[in-house]
Structures are given as structure tokens and as C-alpha cells.
């Protein structure tokens, strides 16, 4: 699953533009991910600050 580190995110929308599934959306300064996400990691690659991470499991 995709983990969003909101404390790092600069809400720029770069990730939204590359997501092949259209799963991400910027609600003003709040990035959301919906269940169309298939954990491909493309968004995590492009993020200028590393605010996205694909994890195997839900973090505890």
C-alpha cells in the first residue's frame, strides 16, 4: 500500500500527474489516495522530496 508522509509533502501535484491509475488527488494541500492504487510506485519515484513510500503492509 502507498504511505503518504504528509509532514514532508509539499502538495505540488507531480505525483498526481504520473499516476497511471488516477488514484491520487490533491485536495488543496491534502494529498489523497483511493483504492484504484495498485502500489506500482511510480508516484514515489517522481516525488521531489520522497514523501511517498510503497510498503508491503499497513504500518503499525
Amino acid at each position: 500500500m502507498l504511505v503518504i508522509h504528509r509532514e514532508c509533502c509539499g502538495y505540488c501535484g507531480a505525483c498526481v500527474s504520473v499516476c497511471p491509475e488516477g488514484a491520487l488527488e490533491l485536495v488543496d494541500a491534502f494529498l489523497t489516495v483511493d483504492n484504484a492504487c495498485r502500489s506500482c510506485g511510480v508516484c514515489a519515484r517522481v516525488c521531489p522530496v520522497g514523501a511517498l513510500e510503497v510498503c508491503d503492509e499497513e504500518p503499525v
Partner: protein, 400 residues
């Protein structure tokens, strides 16, 4: 907010603001919605624009001009630089804007021409009837409303979702999305009239670092790298921090922003029934420079012209709106985008050694204007072998 307008514009950036203003000026009812609470903030831009193109849209105003530019410098990977100066002595060629104020002024201009404006109002989906876009679902502070319109103009920027919701795949390939970070640095030594571009795979793989003056000792200092070269420890922000440590160790950061710019080809089609896509949402930023303010304003204006006719004639089908798609593609803008995309595809293949050779061949260049085209033509004049190396590049230059 009414439940119906002639036109609904999604996004309050330069593209949306110009489109809304022109439609309102032509006497149509227009509603512009912007999801952010403040137009233009945070900025996602290095704020550079040519003087001549800007004045097609708005009269220059000191409130949003941070600096005037009269030349550019390109720094090779090995540090040797080449300075490009405008031929006409004394005349400045470009501005560095203050986009928080600039973008808001454009929306203000649209509002004065009669457009309705709603901030902190987000489009969450289209209204589709019989396969045609007929409006949008809008959300403001928890309230959802359906608003109908003859034409919807998607001007929702790089993070555009609207066209996608209407069935247009607008995802940018990873390698063609420039991942960017930028600081406003102050208390640094710069030439306040020069924009400076640093090239090289160590500085900014498949991209460049920039220093765009915002005043005598202040500048937008930023970096863009290809998404495919972005990795933990080597992200845009890491490259920027290394660049700043090397070039401006004493600089003080007074603003920090991140962003994405597409350097792909434009969407294959920028209209559908009831829908037009302009600016970054249509992937119209320049692939060589990453500049997209002018392209957004220009396509906003072209879209408004065609929308106005279509609304008046009662035919907003994709075949009627297609006149807009043809208009921008056939214009200088459309041709420049295609040519610069080809030049970009060539430039990203060059090694640092090759870039050094090319830039060393000229240390000072006088150009009538700063276009990528003139720059590349001049580079080729000094390095004729460049042409032999890539036939495609040759063709794209001839096409210009």
C-alpha cells in the same frame, strides 16, 4: 453560485484566468472555480517570462514584476559559461514575476470583465449526459453542487484530473515529468539582470538548475530532474541542496517549493463533446525550457474564442470545438512545442563531455531573441557535426 452558466472554467491559474476573462468579455456567463483558498499560492514556478509575449495579455505592473532580465548564461558541466545577450542594446527582454500577485491579478482582471469566481471550490467530477460533458460537480467546504454549462474548460494544471474523469488519459510518462525543487535564496551574489542555467548530469540529470533573479541579492534557485532519474538520496531536493551548498553556501532560504513540469508531447486531442483542455492540463509546457505560463494564457485565449462561437451557435460538440485544437497546433506555439520536444529528446542523450564541447565553442552570443530555436541554430553553426549526428534534429530545425 448559479446552477447554470454558458461556460465553467476549472482552475484559476493563468490558463483559466485568461479563458474566463475573454469569455466574460464576449458577454457570456462564466464561472471560474479554484480549489485553493488563495490564487497562485504556493507558487510552483521559477516565474520567468518574455516581455513581448506577456504584453499580449496584461499591461506590465510593478506590483508583480520582481526583476527585469537582459541576458542569459549557460554554464557547462565543467563550469565554463556562455553568455547570451540581446542584440538591441538597452532593451530588457524578460521579467521574473511575482506569481502570487500576478496570478491573482489575472483572476481579478477576469472578475472585472464579468466572470464569477469561487475559491476553495473544487471540481470533483464531470456531469456527463449522452456522452457529452454538460457541467461539473463542485465541492465547497463540504457542500456539493451540480453546475451545468455548455462548455467546460479544464485549466486544472499539472495535477489535472478533470480531463481524465472525462475519459482522456492525461497521465505523464515518468521520464517526461520533471521533478523540481526551488528555494528563494537571499543574501547571495548574483547578476541581477541575468538568468543562469546550469547543465550536466551531476548537477541535474536530464534537466537543469536555474538562478532567476528576484532582486539585487535574491533569486529563485531551483532544479528540475527527469522523474526516471529521481531516487532516494538523489531526488530534486537533494540535488538542489548540493547545488546550493556548492554555489551559494551563505544563502538564506526564505521560501521553499516543489513542483512538477511535463516535458512530453501535448495530449493527442484537447477537446471532447462539451470539453476543452488548456495549459498544463493539456501538457503544453515547453519541453526544452519547462516554461508554460505563456502557453497556458495563449491556449486559454484560443479556447475562449472557439467556445464563444460554439456557445452562440448552440453547437458545443467535439467537432465544433476541434477548431481550438487545430488553432493551437497550427500556431507558432504548436510548432515550437513539437520542435522543442525533438530537440529535448536529442539533448537528454548528450554526455557531459559533449555538452562541454558544445558550450566551449561559443563564449558570447548575440541573438535577436532568446528562443531555444535561435540558440540551437547558433550552436549548430559553431558545431556543424551536431547536425550529422541526428537526422531528426535536422528535420525539426528545418521545420521551424
Amino acid at each position: 453560485m448559479k446552477s447554470r452558466y454558458d461556460a465553467l472554467v476549472i482552475g484559476g491559474g493563468p490558463g483559466g484566468a485568461i479563458a474566463a476573462g475573454e469569455l466574460a468579455g464576449a458577454g457570456h456567463s462564466v464561472c471560474l472555480v479554484e480549489k485553493r483558498p488563495a490564487i497562485g499560492a504556493p507558487v510552483r514556478c521559477a516565474e520567468g517570462i518574455g516581455k513581448d509575449v506577456l504584453k499580449e495579455f496584461i499591461a506590465p505592473d510593478d506590483r508583480w514584476i520582481s526583476a527585469e532580465i537582459n541576458g542569459a548564461r549557460i554554464v557547462a558541466p565543467d563550469g565554463v559559461s556562455m553568455t547570451v545577450e540581446q542584440q538591441m542594446a538597452g532593451s530588457k527582454v524578460g521579467y521574473i514575476l511575482d506569481r502570487k500577485i500576478f496570478d491573482r491579478d489575472l483572476v481579478w482582471q477576469a472578475a472585472s470583465r464579468g466572470a464569477e469566481v469561487h475559491v476553495k471550490t473544487r471540481a470533483t467530477g464531470p456531469i456527463v449526459e449522452d456522452g457529452a460533458v454538460k457541467g461539473a460537480v463542485l465541492e465547497t467546504c463540504g457542500t456539493t453542487r451540480k453546475v451545468k454549462a455548455d462548455v467546460v474548460i479544464a485549466a486544472d494544471g499539472v495535477e489535472s484530473k478533470f480531463a481524465r474523469w472525462c475519459g482522456v488519459d492525461s497521465a505523464v510518462p515518468l521520464r517526461e515529468l520533471m521533478s523540481c525543487a526551488q528555494y528563494i535564496l537571499t543574501d547571495i551574489d548574483i547578476d541581477p539582470g541575468l538568468t543562469v542555467f546550469y547543465l550536466g548530469n551531476k548537477v541535474a540529470p536530464e534537466g537543469y538548475a536555474w538562478v532567476f533573479p528576484k532582486g539585487d541579492r535574491t533569486a529563485n534557485v531551483g532544479i528540475g530532474i527527469s522523474g526516471r532519474r529521481s531516487r532516494d538520496g538523489n531526488r530534486a531536493r537533494d540535488y538542489l541542496d548540493r547545488f546550493v551548498a556548492a554555489q551559494f553556501p551563505g544563502g538564506k532560504t526564505i521560501e521553499y517549493i516543489v513542483g512538477g513540469v511535463s516535458v512530453c508531447r501535448p495530449l493527442p486531442c484537447t477537446v471532447a463533446d462539451g470539453l476543452m483542455v488548456v495549459g498544463d492540463a493539456a501538457r503544453l509546457a515547453d519541453p526544452m525550457t519547462g516554461g508554460g505560463i505563456y502557453n497556458a494564457m495563449k491556449t486559454g485565449r484560443l479556447a475562449a474564442g472557439v467556445a464563444s462561437e460554439s456557445i452562440s451557435s448552440g453547437d458545443c460538440s467535439s467537432s465544433a470545438l476541434m477548431a481550438y485544437d487545430r488553432a493551437w497546433r497550427d500556431s507558432k506555439l504548436g510548432k515550437t512545442l513539437e520542435r522543442n520536444w525533438r530537440i529535448k529528446e536529442y539533448f537528454i542523450t548528450l554526455s557531459d563531455e559533449k555538452l562541454n564541447t558544445i558550450i566551449h565553442s561559443i563564449s558570447k552570443m548575440n541573438l535577436k531573441d532568446f528562443s531555444v530555436f535561435n540558440l540551437v541554430k547558433e550552436l549548430i553553426r559553431h558545431n556543424p557535426r551536431l547536425l550529422l549526428e541526428l537526422k531528426g534534429l535536422h528535420d525539426s530545425l528545418k521545420a521551424g
